[in-house]
């Protein structure tokens, strides 16, 4: 983490944090449910091979402005603008969970912005025959286990670091859940199915084998819809947020896909 740089960009005139670490060709990462309240080991693994650039989307930790975004179009444009402002136009992009739904649309609608795409258990589709899990309506003690195969991985990321401000930390966590709800409530279906055919980039679909939020079988639906060449990798011992459960394996699969 010694080379970590923290910058700020403006998205719709609101500040959003950008982390940069490593060297080599830029690689973007958009985090999943809960965002990134603090640095995680997964990013170190990616940074061993690439310059990892991690913008926060509005409302997720480090980012403001989610309450200005009302429609799906607002969110897709905000994601586009965040990627451009962070210097990621034309770079490879990894997007997980809730951000996966937005990254898939950016890749399809603005093909020049995303070179190759990695979607980690993205939201965006909903199938009545195999419903997605509800990440919000969880009793607090059940939430870590709903999101991660190793609940302690979620707890570690969301525990207040020493010296932190407890109130701000709590508000940031609630805000992240709200931001995701703002564009995905109640089912997580952004009608992405209609637009998957616009994605022509080489795409890797990466799924935790034990994902309790987006069933791993959804990988097949994405694969069938995306026009570009796709492959799917399933990670054993991982839940919905595979980058928290299995940082090594997730990073390895991504770097191997990107070559």
């Amino acid at each position: 983490m010694s080379s970590l740089a923290v910058d700020s960009i403006l998205v719709n005139d609101k500040a959003c944090r950008v982390w940069r670490e490593g060297s080599g060709a830029p690689l973007g990462f958009l985090a999943g449910f809960g965002g990134l309240p603090q640095w995680i080991p997964f990013l170190d693994r990616l940074a061993e091979a690439r310059t990892v650039i991690v913008p926060s989307l509005p409302g997720f930790p480090g980012g403001l402005g989610h309450a200005d975004l009302d429609s799906h179009l607002d969110w897709v444009l905000a994601t586009h603008d965040a990627l451009v402002a962070a210097g990621l136009a034309g770079a490879d992009l990894v997007a997980a969970s809730v951000a996966g739904a937005l990254a898939a649309d950016v890749a399809g609608i603005f093909p020049g912005i995303v070179k190759r795409l990695v979607l980690m258990a993205p939201f965006g589709l909903y199938d009545d025959g195999e419903p997605t899990g509800d990440p919000w309506a969880q009793k607090p003690p059940d939430q870590p286990g709903a999101l991660c195969a190793k609940p302690e991985a979620w707890t570690a990321m969301t525990t207040l670091p020493e010296g932190g401000n407890a109130l701000e930390w709590q508000i940031e966590g609630v805000r992240a859940n709200e931001a995701a709800a703002r564009f995905l409530w109640p089912l997580g279906d952004t009608r992405l199915a209609k637009r998957l055919g616009r994605i022509t980039q080489p795409t890797l679909l990466l799924w935790g084998e034990g994902d309790r939020i987006i069933p791993p079988a959804y990988a097949g639906r994405f694969q069938a819809g995306i026009k570009g060449p796709t492959s799917t990798v399933t990670i054993p011992g991982a839940g919905h947020l595979a980058y928290l459960d299995q940082p090594e394996a997730a990073a390895k699969a991504i770097l191997s896909f990107l070559g």
Binding site: H66, A67, D70, W136, A137, Q138, K139, P140, D142, L167, Q170, I171, V174, R175, N177, E178, A179, A180, A181, R182, W185, P186
Partner: protein
């Protein structure tokens, strides 16, 4: 003081093992527990009870809105209020209320409330709750991140529709209408009184003060738990320079009256334990959709005096959900006030004065209380408690928030059934 009779319309036949076998009374309650033919009887009993309360001289009868809820069988309180408009003549009709963000377009509320106001000759109190998380975000799938903004915009639209004589365009964030023009219009001018049921949110208190609306704290946990919240409310009114007119506020209280204290404990034990044991069995998973509680309220919850008051209330609620399901504890905690008419009157006088509340809303039917007992409770209360409290506050304060109906002699009564032309049996 105004004394109002409130019905939640609880399903009265939840099984004895409901708490152990079912996760929640709300949102995902098992619909196989619902027997429509039994509900036929319940609805008619409940409406009899409301009509009886009006006849016994309560100042108002109150109904409210819940969805997918085993203790509240009124997804549409307007249906009940409409029937009450025909079968009552002097009592006000307090619809407490319509969750504005759930109606698309919200003009529907302006229209239906105007209908009730016309049918009743101007007896409507228009309640506008945001709605609980269970009702709004889960049962009706509203986005918690947008709920409050939608609610506020819907409020603006309804108020404009009631008060603007011309057809107008409305270009809101969530609602766009080229031709907004409601027909009918309410009897009461400029509009029926607006009351806001809410929890302990600072923003709601401020908004009520700004708009000059009545704030109603509809807690199921009685006057002891309500003290902190109402203190928070009045402290905020002081800060905003508003007077302490008790008619700015409403408060809900469960009551059971009998000839002796022991008899009251005995008579109301089962319905109270049914309510606190089964009806309030709500799964914690529905409590906190993200964004429902504003960041300002979360901050206030940690930082301020008011927040500590609201926090106290939350603790009471949690405590209640965990433990207080036995009659003695329920009464000790103040959730239900029971006793002889004099005891109850004395306690309610203390409640009204301590909380400084001019609109007391009584729940005299709760849980699985039978119609017979509900009517007994209502009659005894009306005859022996109500008169003792009627004059409270009126020497000093005016209720500016009470409906202004048409003069009694200008209002019509429904024609008795026997006088109507009937079809011949052969037709």
């Amino acid at each position: 003081m105004k004394q109002m009779w409130f019905h939640l319309m609880p399903y009265t036949e939840l099984p004895d093992d409901f708490r152990d076998k079912h996760p929640s009374v709300w949102v995902d309650i098992d619909s196989r527990l619902f027997n429509p033919e039994r509900a036929h009887i319940m609805y008619n009993d409940f409406m009899d009870e409301l009509e009886y309360a009006a006849e016994m001289g309560f100042d108002a009868v109150c109904v409210n809105e819940h969805h997918a809820n085993g203790y509240g069988l009124m997804p549409s309180p307007n249906l009940i209020a409409s029937a009450l408009a025909r079968r009552t003549s002097d009592a006000m009709l307090c619809v407490m209320g319509n969750s504005l963000a759930l109606y698309n377009p919200p003009l529907r509320v302006a229209e239906e409330f105007a209908m009730i106001d016309c049918i009743s000759g101007g007896r409507l109190i228009a309640g506008f709750p945001v709605g609980t998380p269970m009702d709004t975000c889960y049962a009706y799938a509203q986005n918690p991140s947008m709920l409050r903004a939608r609610y506020l915009e819907a409020h603006d639209l309804v108020m404009k529709a009631w008060q603007t004589p011309e057809t107008f365009s409305f270009n809101g964030r969530f609602n766009q209408l080229r031709y907004a023009n409601i027909w009918p219009r309410p009897v009461q001018k400029p509009h029926p009184p607006v009351w806001i049921p809410g929890g302990g949110s600072v923003e709601t208190w401020r908004w009520c003060a700004e708009m000059d609306y009545v704030y109603c704290y509809l807690s199921y946990f009685g006057y002891k738990a309500g003290q902190a919240t109402m203190k928070g409310f009045w402290d905020e009114m002081d800060r905003l320079g508003k007077d302490r007119n008790p008619y700015r506020a409403g408060f809900l209280q469960f009551v059971g009256v009998a000839d002796t204290h022991d008899e009251a404990m005995q008579l109301y034990r089962e319905p109270a334990e049914y309510f606190y044991g089964r009806c309030l069995h709500v799964s914690a998973q529905w409590a906190n959709p993200p964004g429902y509680t504003s960041e300002a309220t979360i901050r206030a919850g940690v930082e301020s005096q008011i927040g500590r008051a609201a926090g106290l209330m939350q603790k009471e609620i949690l405590k209640a959900r965990r433990a207080v399901t036995e009659m003695r504890d329920i009464v000790d905690a103040g959730y239900v006030i029971v006793g002889t008419p004099d005891e109850v009157a004395e306690r309610l006088r203390e409640v009204a004065k301590t909380l400084n509340v001019g609109h007391l809303m009584y729940l005299l039917q709760y849980g699985n209380m039978s119609k017979q007992l509900a009517l007994y409770n209502t009659r005894l209360f009306a005859e022996k408690v109500m008169p003792q409290l009627r004059d409270l506050f009126d020497d000093r304060w005016e209720d500016r928030w009470w409906p202004k109906p048409m003069a009694a002699h200008r209002r019509v009564e429904p024609a008795p059934l026997g006088e109507r032309p009937r079809r011949a049996a052969a037709e």
